[in-house]
Amino acid sequence: MNNYFSHLVGQNSVKKKLSFYLDAFHKTSQCPFLLMSGAKGLGKTEFAKSFAKNLYNRDGDRRSFLELNCSTIKNNEQFFEQIFLPLIADNEITILFDECHALPNDLTMAFLTIFNTEANSRKTFEWNEMTFEFNFKQQTFIFATTETDKIFPPLKDRLTVVDFEAYDSEDLADIVQLCIPEISFVDGVEKKIATTIRGNARSAVKRSKEIALYCGAKSINTFGHKEFDDLCDQVGILPYGITHTEKQILQALNSCGSATLTGLAAKIGMSKTALQKDHELYLLNKSLIEIDGKRKITGKGLNLCKTF
């Protein structure tokens, strides 16, 4: 099996699966309809792009890659007029439907017909007294979303799911180093940096940009613990990568022992939904709080509070 993704860090099972489909594509010119699924910032789009880069046309040229944001598609007519006819029909191209949970209902229904291919590599779709020809040897379709539960189940059944995993701290340290090869990390500071990244590749890239700016401003090219502590102080990076709102939540729970969601929302001044969706999950994931009827701070959370 070829290694098509050596330039990307982590996601080994994704790399294996996609490499298998690429090898098969080079022999058969066909590829299943892929669904990249996983939390934000795990590299779904980047992997889809790298995958597309390894697909070749019959004349040996690399295939073009069309990336669509599904939340901007309103209906069938708009899709077929603006996208299918000018860009897809009769072309060799790879199409990524990003945020595919936001596809409009009529296009989802059309896709049920189009992607119900049995063994055929061609599909004719008739709509509004017009006929649209799909050739799956020329056109490769990839879907991506963070919210697979919102995809209409029969459409999901027609797609081959590629699951992305959270990055471990070693992968995150590698991503930071890969983004700024001109800077040397000393005394294992990259491991400390990795603990402040919120588990995804996008955060690692953002952190590496902050480090590059810091080093640029100070005209240095080695980065150690002293420099990182200084950077954390200047831009407000907190341990475990928690935000200042999450710091407030920990401090509130530390002072009152335990609180209901409503009580905590009142203390912090945020809506319950925002509190649950944006902050509690991360604190739970890092074992800094626990929920047992009420929200409580853990021993690990208490230790962290003492450092503030």
Binding site: R62, E67, K74, Q78, E81, Q82
Partner: protein
């Protein structure tokens, strides 16, 4: 307790075509009886309601055209051959 409409009540009223046109414009479609129109037009009458709804309020129709006009966001990448 009295129920129903009073004697002689009608939901319709009369207005001249010219006066109506002053209010809604002469291109606005108004619902009329098919039978009456057929009598008036004879063989020229065509029932095209299936393709063209007769409606003074066309808000939903114009919303749909706005949706078609709004642009789908996309990025097209052409990879260099290495």
């Amino acid at each position: 307790m009295k129920r129903g409409r009073p004697k002689g009540y009608s939901p319709y009223t009369e207005i001249s075509y010219g006066e109506l046109a002053d209010w809604v414009g002469c291109k606005t479609k108004v619902p009329v009886s098919k039978k009456w129109l057929q009598m008036l037009m004879g063989e020229d009458f065509q029932d095209d309601q299936e393709n063209d709804d007769i409606s003074i309020d066309n808000t939903s129709e114009s919303d749909y055209s706005k949706d078609i006009e709004s642009k789908i966001e996309y990025t097209l990448t052409k990879f260099d051959n290495e």
